[in-house]
């Protein structure tokens, strides 16, 4: 074999990607890829895919793409989770080795936070925020598409790591010196840093987009204090993104140049300081916790009033508390490393600031309960997730207060108590919220409801599975089991609890399968939503047909009240019965663009080249990025005109306009 080929083979396929699990996964990926290719070619769908999806700038389609990616990533993160639990089921009998285990818990955490929770949130933001505020799109539609493609190619780069080169294996936080090149020479951590940098640029741009969308694109009359709570949560989340992602970018960049170009930021020698990475990472990481949970709070603030047939209790305090959480979120990061020895004064400050967050959060919990109080409650799947969220999240919050108690934290730190706590708030808060939102807005996105009976099955499996998995983990933590151990000996009293926890994880896995079946079944057989308002909703998105036409609003209404659509229905003046032929004019919509896709692809090439230090490939990628940016600058094609006759035809077909 020529030396070049041997080098290539050795770099791309080191021994740790040639284990049976990895090769099995590779075969499945290849097979799936081939099947998709064949089906696409047989049905002549490539052109359709390109013109309707890959080059789209329509927020509704971008939302669908985000959602598909999020569910796929939920699958991969979930498989990782099941591998973790399988390994820990029985004492002293690991199924996978320590090094594989390191890779699996690293990718589980990274994928669930960055490539599942984030795109799921952006899917819902994209799907409904413009509709809720009475807008035809987000503030920057093409930038929105760029955000998506940077996320997608970042996710691709990250997920490639176990097929070629080797997975990252230093935990989702990637602390040095675990990531220092001398201790961790493979390309795995390069995959981590580069894919997060690329996806992070996309996320930052999404943050900018939704801050400006909620500040500048609202329908006339919709003042800030008339904005739906979900839009408030998007504004708060996006503001947090603006302030939180730059420190992450800096931390990742410094680690990367430490690894690739030999600088000395976080090294053990040359005056470097690993603790600085930890500070910068959590300066992002703690706000990130609120970035993923505030949207869930926003979703519940929409779901509860709708299914209680009451207006939201204490709207003003809801807004105040979300803003308070947003501000406090930035002052608590040190609580992730009380044990690092910052001293009692510093620790006391951050312990107190952490406990303070419980106050605005408590206000919100009570407001949701008071909204339900005396309401006519319908227990739809969306509402069930909310009802399960309240007790689950309260338990997770309370264990958070226990962790914020510094002397006690010296015991809890890095134990399974902590693992149980953050899964309690991330699954009980974020994931329940996102699933609630998915069931609630699914008819608006796809024109069909998700089957409620199957949805309830998935819900109950998820909820019981969740408690069976994580309830025992609190006890395991108190019994001294630490996180990230790949196996443990018999005789510590951890055995029974671990078996139970693993069983719970498989119940959750079954819940996921039912959920996927629910989606697949409902795409064809779900109940059609012909009114556009299947839940008797209160906010503006329900004023539109499901799914909304490309231009959203043939005319944008003036808003007078907080629950704008409820107000229109009460006055008998909905868009459906108020538009006349004369009201409809020509419209301008943003034009499709292939540049976002190519920009994402170029960044992918940069990342791929840099992972293996193949500078020619990286250079080609950079040239591609530069070319895309110049092309964006010189793109003076005007907006696409949609003429009035077409809009009239569409509105008539949708039953919104009398011909």
């Amino acid at each position: 074999m020529p030396p070049f080929a041997r080098y290539l083979l050795h770099t791309l396929f080191p021994p740790d990607v040639l284990r049976p699990t990895e090769v099995g996964a590779d075969v499945l990926i290849l097979a799936t890829g081939v099947i998709i290719m064949v089906v696409m070619t047989r049905r002549h769908k490539w052109r359709h895919l390109w013109t309707e999806w890959l080059t789209t700038v329509d927020h509704k389609k971008i939302a669908v793409m985000y959602l598909i990616a999020a569910i796929a990533m939920l699958f991969r993160g979930g498989v990782d989770a099941l591998m973790i639990r399988t390994n820990l089921a029985l004492p002293g009998s690991p199924v996978i080795s320590a090094s594989e285990y390191n890779a699996v818990f690293t990718t589980h955490g990274t994928i669930m936070i960055f490539f599942m929770a984030m795109p799921f949130i952006f899917a819902l933001f994209n799907a409904v925020i413009p509709l809720m505020i009475g807008s035809r799109d987000v503030a920057f539609p093409r930038l929105n598409a760029m955000s998506f493609w940077l996320f997608a190619f970042g996710a691709l780069l990250f997920n490639m790591s176990f097929v070629i080169g080797g997975s990252p294996n230093a935990g989702w936080t990637a602390y040095p010196p675990l990531t220092e090149r001398v201790f961790n020479p493979g390309p795995g951590e390069n995959f981590y840093f580069l894919s997060l940098l690329i996806a992070g640029i996309g996320t930052t741009m999404t943050g900018i987009n939704f801050v400006v969308t909620s500040l500048r694109m609202r329908a006339p009359g919709m003042t800030l204090m008339k904005m739906p709570m979900f839009v408030w949560s998007a504004l708060a989340t996006s503001t947090l993104i603006l302030f939180a992602f730059p420190p992450l970018t800096v931390a990742l960049l410094m680690s990367l140049i430490d690894r690739l170009f030999g600088s000395s930021f976080f090294t053990l020698g040359h005056g470097g300081m690993p603790m600085m990475y930890v500070n910068l990472f959590w300066l992002f990481g703690h706000p990130e916790v609120y970035i993923v949970v505030l949207p869930a709070f926003g979703i519940f603030s929409e779901v509860v009033p709708t299914f209680s047939r009451k207006r939201l209790f204490g709207y003003e305090t809801m807004v105040l508390s979300i803003v308070a959480i947003m501000l406090l979120a930035y002052g608590t990061w040190v609580h992730h490393f009380f044990t690092m020895g910052a001293g009692p004064t510093v620790n006391a400050f951050f312990g107190l600031s952490t406990m303070l967050i419980a106050i605005p959060t408590g206000v919100k919990i009570f407001n949701w309960i008071f909204t339900m109080w005396g309401g006519r409650i319908r227990t739809t799947v969306a509402m069930l997730y909310q009802l399960a969220f309240i007790p689950t999240f309260v338990v997770g919050g309370a264990s958070g207060i226990m962790l914020a108690t510094i002397p006690a934290d010296y015991q809890f730190h890095n134990s399974y108590f902590l693992v149980a706590h953050f899964h309690n708030v991330l699954i009980g808060g974020t994931l329940f919220g996102l699933l609630s939102g998915m069931y609630y807005w699914w008819p608006k996105m796809f024109g069909r409801k998700l089957d409620e009976r199957q949805g309830k099955w998935a819900f109950w499996l998820f909820l019981t599975g969740f408690w069976i998995t994580f309830g025992p983990q609190y006890l395991l933590g108190l019994k001294g089991m630490t996180r990230r151990m790949y196996t443990y000996p018999l005789g510590y009293g951890w055995h029974t609890l671990n078996v139970i926890s693993t069983l719970g994880a498989f119940v959750m896995g079954a819940g996921f399968l039912v959920l996927v079946y629910n989606i697949v079944y409902s795409m064809r057989n779900g109940e059609r939503d012909l009114t556009g308002d299947p839940w008797d909703g209160r906010t503006l998105e329900w004023a539109l047909p499901s799914p909304a036409p490309e231009y959203n609003f043939a005319r944008i209404p003036v808003v007078y009240e907080r629950d704008a659509y409820w107000d229109m229905k009460e006055k008998g003046q909905t868009l459906a019965n108020s538009l006349t032929v004369r009201d409809v004019h020509d419209l301008e919509l943003p034009r499709n663009s292939s540049l976002p896709f190519f920009l994402g692809l170029s960044f992918f090439v940069v990342g791929f080249g840099m992972v293996f230090s193949w500078w020619i490939i990286a250079g080609l990628g950079f040239a591609g990025v530069a070319a895309c940016l110049v092309a964006v600058g010189f793109d003076y094609r005007g907006p696409k005109r949609v003429d009035a006759a077409f809009i009239r035809g569409t509105e008539v077909a949708l039953g919104r306009l009398r011909a």
């Binding site: 503030a139 500048r216 730059p246 000395s264 040359h270 003046q573 600058g633």
Partner: protein, 207 residues
């Protein structure tokens, strides 16, 4: 009473050119939000620099390394370029594309001189063996000042493409908005440099 419908947006002739079109003015708001993220990037780099400044390991410290001469000259060049880009925007408000071109070119020349001096400064340090491998202090110095320099260099390339657009299309709401955001960016870099000069060079020589 029937439902009130919002009028479709039109041009605002009472506002400056770059704000006259609703879509273009929204982009300026967006650019401010981008600047927020860039402020945070530099804030993180400054905090890292502050932490790493005493950690010189076996390498030189700020006192031995820096010279006032080049830093002062760089400051002078960049502050002047901020003034010239201000005049370019003044010319834009007056509707004189020729003046905009001339003053933007002056800005770019000053910016290019700045970048040249900075590269020269870095090269002279590296020639003394003061590379970023040597110490955490040097890593933080090169990355903080280098990130600023990279921003200036990107700004120069960006403005070149803007000049081509201006030459082809004249002053329109779109080109005016682009030039305006470029000037925001350039002023921002100037402000960052003031902090770099103070924190890195002045405080480095005093301590």
């Amino acid at each position: 009473m029937s439902l009130e419908l919002a009028p479709e947006p039109g041009r605002r002739e009472d506002l400056p050119l770059e704000l006259s079109d609703e879509q273009e003015s929204v982009k300026i708001t967006g650019f401010w939000m981008f600047l927020v993220t860039d402020v945070l990037i530099f804030a993180s780099l400054f905090s890292a620099y502050a932490v790493y400044r005493p950690r010189v390991a076996t390498g030189p410290g700020p006192l031995e390394l820096f010279h006032f001469g080049p830093a002062l000259l760089e400051t002078l060049l960049l502050l002047t370029s901020s003034f010239t880009v201000g005049i370019a925007i003044y010319e834009m408000r007056k509707g004189r594309p020729g003046g905009v071109m001339a003053w933007t070119i002056a800005t770019l020349a000053l910016g290019a001189a700045f970048v040249f001096l900075e590269i020269h400064e870095f090269a002279s340090y590296a020639a003394l063996g003061a590379t970023w491998h040597q110490s955490a202090f040097l890593s933080a110095f090169y990355v903080l000042v280098g990130t600023h320099g990279a921003h200036v260099s990107f700004g120069i390339l960006w403005a070149v493409t803007l000049l081509v657009q201006l030459a082809r299309r004249g002053l329109t709401p779109v080109t005016a908005r682009k030039l305006y955001t470029f000037s925001l960016y350039w002023h921002f870099l100037d402000v960052v440099w003031v902090f770099i000069f103070t924190v890195v060079y002045l405080m480095g020589k005093i301590a």
